[in-house]
């Protein structure tokens, strides 16, 4: 029983649920709730992206594109064409999944930096389309989005959104953890380590890469749709190259191949600018310095590095084993 609690799937999920449940005690006003909602939305994207980057080992510098497609798809269908928001979100998500599947096949044949380039190019192209087709998207100034309503019940206000996003984050983490510990998830991790090794036990590496790509795109798209409805407004800033970089940074910062690392990365890098805002002119410099420093001293990311430190502390008295690599 204790062992089960210590496993990431049950124990970690429970811990996350407790944090989400207790956090409102510290959220004294709507601004804090707002930050928490943003953390949750970013975390959903990062949990998905981590499946691709951390587990399948395939980089993407274009995920802001999927986030943006989700946001704009919902915005355009729901606000411009008056679709029910849920139907708009569902349609958008399916369309994004289909797009990711179609472009994923050729793109994921590329490796390493070339894959980075191709995904970056994909993101840039999506960005250009969204900023240029201002008849539909409102161009660089963005468009307003109707609030999310489900059968007459309108989701508005930071507190309600906090619980919705919190619940969805739990679901996202649960799905990701399930996947990782399934045959398909092991296949992803296997092809990350050795693509040939994976292929010779019967794993179709290309298919699995595309699967991870599509899942991460869907997570990003859903978070994008939610963000659009929550903010009530969407601008191309969230589709831009820099936002893609931000997302990857969150994943790597928190710790690749660690689902909770992705959540922590999203939390830290979303709140950090808020804390640093007080430094005015120095904000940017400090942000860069924190990023560099963390990655230099914790190259595996915050969560795995701390976990390792904790483990080795515990193990030190018994034996010096366990520090492989």
């Amino acid at each position: 029983m204790l062992a089960r609690l210590a496993s990431p799937r049950t124990g970690g999920l429970l811990a996350l649920a407790v944090v989400i449940a207790l956090l409102p005690l510290a959220l004294t006003n709507k601004y804090f709730y707002d930050i928490a909602v943003l953390v949750g939305l970013n975390a959903i994207v990062c949990v998905g992206l981590n499946l691709l980057i951390g587990y399948a080992g395939q980089i993407s510098l274009g995920h802001a594109g999927f986030f943006g497609l989700g946001a704009y798809g919902s915005a355009i269908l729901a606000s411009r064409y008056g679709w029910p928001p849920l139907a708009a979100m569902l349609t958008t998500t399916l369309a994004v999944a289909a797009l990711a599947y179609l472009v994923g096949r050729p793109i994921l044949r590329l490796k390493g930096h070339y894959l980075a380039m191709a995904t970056l190019g994909l993101g840039v192209i999506i960005f250009m389309v969204i900023t240029t087709e201002d008849k539909y998207t409102g161009g660089p100034d963005g468009i307003a989005v109707v609030p999310l309503s489900i059968g007459g019940f309108v989701l508005q206000g930071e507190r309600i959104w906090y619980w919705v996003v919190g619940a969805l984050l739990l679901v996202a983490v649960w799905l990701a953890l399930n996947l990782i510990e399934s045959p398909a998830g092991r296949a992803l991790r296997a092809l990350h380590s050795s693509e040939v090794g994976a292929e010779v036990v019967g794993i179709n590496a290309a298919e699995h890469k595309v699967m991870a790509f599509v899942i991460s795109a869907v997570f990003a798209s859903v978070a994008g749709s939610l963000a659009a409805h929550y903010s009530g407004f969407v601008t191309p800033g969230k589709v831009a190259f820099l936002h893609s970089i931000e997302l990857v940074t969150m994943v790597v910062f928190g710790g690749m191949a660690s689902t909770f690392g992705a959540v922590v990365g999203a939390a830290v890098l979303t709140t950090l600018p808020q804390l640093l805002a007080a430094f005015e002119d120095y904000e940017m410099m400090l942000f860069g310095a924190v990023m560099m420093g963390t990655m230099i001293f914790m190259p595996r990311g915050v969560v795995p590095s701390l976990a390792r430190l904790f483990q080795s502390r515990r193990q030190q008295p018994s034996s010096g084993e366990g520090s492989g690599t």
């Binding site: 980057i53 980089i59 050729p106 793109i107 044949r109 590329l110 490796k111 390493g112 930096h113 070339y114 980075a116 380039m117 191709a118 970056l120 190019g121 994909l122 840039v124 192209i125 250009m128 389309v129 240029t132 693509e195 040939v196 190259f241 820099l242 970089i245 990857v248 940074t249 790597v252 910062f253 690749m256 002119d281 120095y282 904000e283 940017m284 410099m285 400090l286 942000f287 860069g288 310095a289 924190v290 990023m291 560099m292 420093g293 990655m295 230099i296 190259p299 595996r300 990311g301």
Partner: protein, 291 residues
């Protein structure tokens, strides 16, 4: 060949030459360290901004430019020493994130040392346009083309003829073998950052009189330089130059003949298409997996 076409070509060459210089910087660091240095664009910025401020305190170009290049090279060396070297052995993605952190840091630093405004730099030799076959070109563009050519020649001499250059090349081919052959791999890594920072700065100085410069001018140029390097094949010097020029010409031709709104998108579509057929870029190493 119509005058219009000639104009697009000349423009594409000028823009492409700058991309090529930035791309070369990417390639040199990549060869030495396998790192994609996302702070490459910031070297471009430092070159331009430092020259502007040195000129402002009254230095002549002949003094200001070498000093600015040296300043950028120092920043490059410092970046290697304090950010990349301590993270040796970290994964490639981690190193990329470190360089992204560095680029944000340097941009932040630039807003404090300098400011957030755009700055102009006087052209080196006047700005009376020169007419070639019905098209016009600024003297500064000739400087861009000439210096880029000189830099490419100098680099090929450096890597082909000098001991240090060959050592750097050897390191890129096989780090372990280079180390066994007595090459100080750490020193090569260190120098490669200095060298590519200097290259970036040169690009930044050359382009500043044409485009003006500011603390965040490196973001887009870095991105385009990266794209050019990938198009040509990361790590290939020829690839960087060809990739840069090709990207520059593609952009201007698309803007001229197709759609100026979608010219960047068109350029990226073409890059994607090339990568689908040549997954290691135009001149990249065809890396086979050894089993």
């Amino acid at each position: 060949m119509s005058a219009q076409f000639t104009q697009y070509l000349l423009t594409g060459l000028t823009v492409g030459a700058i991309y090529a210089l930035v791309a070369l910087g990417f390639s040199i660091i990549f060869n030495a360290s396998n790192v994609i240095n996302f702070a490459q664009g910031e070297f471009v910025m430092i070159g331009g901004m430092a020259t502007v401020s040195l000129i402002a305190v009254g230095l002549p170009y002949l003094l200001a430019i070498p000093l600015a290049v040296a300043a950028a090279a120092l920043v490059g060396l410092a970046l290697e020493k304090f950010a990349v070297e301590p993270a040796r052995g970290a994964s490639v993605v981690t190193l990329i994130i470190i360089t992204i952190g560095a680029s944000i840091f340097l941009r932040g630093l630039a807003t404090i040392i300098w400011d957030k405004r755009f700055h102009a730099l006087k052209p080196f030799t006047g700005d009376a346009p020169i007419t070639i076959a019905g098209a016009t070109i600024l003297p500064q563009s000739l400087w861009v083309l000439g210096v880029t050519l000189a830099v490419v020649l100098a680099l090929s001499w450096f890597f082909g003829r000098t001991l240090l250059g060959k050592a750097m090349l050897a390191t890129s081919h096989n780090r372990l073998a280079a180390q066994l052959a007595g090459i100080n791999v750490r020193m090569v890594l260190f120098l490669s950052f200095g060298l590519s920072a200097a290259l970036g700065a040169v690009a930044g100085i050359l382009i500043a009189p044409i485009t003006t410069t500011s603390y965040d001018v490196g973001v887009m140029l870095g991105l385009k330089g990266f794209a050019a390097a990938m198009l040509g094949g990361m790590g290939s010097g020829v690839g960087a130059v060809v990739g840069g020029i090709a990207l520059g010409i593609t952009e201007t031709m698309s803007a001229g003949y197709l759609s100026s709104a979608y010219k960047d998108a068109i350029a990226f579509v073409i890059i994607l298409a090339v990568l689908f057929f040549m997954p290691s870029g135009l001149f990249g190493k065809r890396g086979g997996e050894r089993v």
